[in-house]
């Protein structure tokens, strides 16, 4: 898990998502009872590798030695609630981004093959983000957003419609989405760095390691999202025809989505 979070961009262990891959039926071999598990459109999931399974935890005795002697005071309920909604909204957001790119690629790849490397690169990064937050959600036992099916359908629809208008419109959509996501990540970073100083048993104060790790993850992801924003602008997003309507409309939708994914 640790290695997963600190993994630099590029060097993805996840397989390249492709049409053929999508059709594969995932089967989780860790189930001992032989019972297949519930899933929702598992075929659509770009990857089926569980980060927690591939990266095997170390033996228990080893970790016992790792246990820090200096401990933090417990997180307050408000702090826990904040982390809870932060992870939920980030997971939902990355899911949305992942599916928007999937929808765009579905439409654009045949007509505009020159966009393939750009879109694939961005999509792979989003898939990595999505997997990281999925792992965090399971590890910290945060409930996923109740509107998840709606986010999936909405994101694919958004990707497909903007790509159907023109490649520039697709790029304008990326620009709008990444603008909102970047701003939202910055907001989270502000709160996480300001509000999570806790008393320690040795008398000093500090931010707990897991929160610091989360901060680093979000920083890395924010930088990548802003990189996508630059890519979109470089690829003529400003030349999309109803530019103002597309970007402002999508920004509005994203803000509403963020607001509701935090809560529901």
């Amino acid at each position: 898990m640790t290695a997963e979070l600190q993994q630099p961009k590029g060097n993805h262990r996840y397989q390249e998502p492709s049409q053929a891959r999508m059709l594969k039926i995932p089967y989780n071999s860790t189930l001992s009872s032989g019972i297949r598990s519930f899933s929702v459109l598992s075929g659509l999931r770009a990857t089926t590798i569980e980060p927690s399974n591939t990266n095997h935890p170390k033996s228990q005795s080893h970790l016992k030695n790792d246990e820090p002697t200096v401990k933090h005071a417990n997180l307050s309920n408000a702090q826990k609630a904040y982390l809870d909604r932060a992870i939920r909204v980030d997971q939902a957001g990355e899911l949305g981004a992942n599916y928007i790119y999937a929808g765009q690629m579905f439409v654009l790849l045949r007509k505009h093959p020159h966009l393939k490397p750009i879109l694939t690169h961005m999509w792979e990064q989003e898939v990595h983000h999505h997997n990281t937050f999925n792992a965090l959600q399971l590890k910290n036992r945060v409930r996923p957003s109740l509107l998840t099916p709606f986010w999936k359908v909405g994101a694919i629809a958004m990707g497909v419609t903007t790509a159907a208008i023109s490649p520039e419109a697709a790029m304008a959509c990326t620009e709008a989405v990444e603008t909102v996501i970047g701003g939202h990540y910055n907001e989270q970073l502000r709160v996480l760095t300001n509000q999570f100083e806790l008393d320690k048993t040795d008398g000093t104060r500090g931010v707990p390691k897991e929160v610091r790790k989360l901060i680093n993850t979000i920083k890395e992801f924010r930088d990548q999202e802003l990189e996508h924003l630059d890519t979109a602008i470089k690829n003529d997003s400003k030349e999309a025809v109803p530019y103002k309507i597309i970007t402002e409309g999508i920004k509005g939708i994203c803000r509403i989505a963020v607001w509701s994914a935090e809560r529901i």
Partner: protein, 261 residues
């Protein structure tokens, strides 16, 4: 007002972030109880639960007998129920509410006491079925009192929404998290927990009327129930995969036709 409380307490606020245990000092209380294992309340209530509840049921008498046995004054009864507000429309004392809450919470913690999914590999954790059966077996001793316990838990009141339902869902959440069951990132997260909650409640209801030796029937009922719920999940999976497969096939067919013409 009531709606808000149902939504907030039953669904949202109890599924909060669980920090990693290694980095923080041990919490002072066994949340949502307001005391920990070393406290006097814990001793009184656990003694009442193991010794006197099988005899008297979930009544004030079980607590007073436990108090007398441990040498406390029986006026402590009001202290024990202090964290509960008195029920308005039903006749249950706050101390008995606390005893029922204690029965749910302490047994939930006991169930997963030595398990640590963070450090143990997934395949060494117990299965969901074994945890469910273990939880049912914990209540063998109070088997005769289950109808009364259920009546108290299921009566529509704030107790149902503040304690009974959240505890039920926390239990199923724990059973999934601490077992080797696969967990999910989407709606399946909710459906699986609901399924486990249903299996648990229906087995408990079965247990209330079970006269077989050592509750054998209940255990086999629970196994069967869980198995059937998982089967339902499998049917759903298969349908979904089939639908997706058909969708991809027909899209590709249309594409191929278009490319040819």
């Amino acid at each position: 007002m009531l709606n808000r409380s149902i939504l907030k307490k039953g669904l949202f606020s109890y599924r909060s972030y669980h920090p990693s245990l290694k980095e923080y000092v041990k919490p002072a209380t066994l949340s949502p109880l307001t005391y920990n294992k070393e406290s006097v309340q814990y001793k009184i209530l656990s003694n009442a639960l193991t010794k006197w509840v099988p005899k008297h049921g979930f009544k004030e008498k079980a607590i007073t007998d436990s108090l007398n046995e441990l040498g406390f004054s029986s006026s402590l009864l009001s202290v024990i129920g202090a964290s509960n507000s008195p029920a308005i429309f039903r006749s249950i004392s706050p101390a008995v509410m606390e005893l029922i809450k204690f029965q749910l919470v302490s047994k939930r913690y006991e169930l997963t006491e030595n398990l640590c999914p963070d450090t143990t590999p997934k395949n060494e954790l117990p299965s969901l079925e074994s945890l469910l059966l273990k939880r049912l077996e914990m209540d063998k001793a109070i088997g005769k009192q289950i109808p009364h316990l259920f009546a108290e838990l299921a009566t529509p009141s704030s107790f149902l929404f503040d304690v009974a339902l959240p505890e039920l869902h926390r239990l199923s959440d724990d059973m999934i998290y601490f077992s080797n069951e696969k967990d999910h990132h989407d709606m399946a997260w909710y459906t699986k927990r609901l399924g486990v909650s249903c299996a648990y409640v229906s087995s408990k209801l079965y247990m209330a009327q079970d006269n077989s030796r050592d509750f054998e029937d209940t255990l086999s009922f629970a196994k069967d129930k869980l198995h059937r719920i998982m089967k339902l999940g499998e049917y759903y999976n298969n349908t979904e995969e089939y639908a997706w497969y058909m969708f991809m096939v027909s899209t590709n067919l249309v594409r191929a036709r278009l490319a040819r013409s």
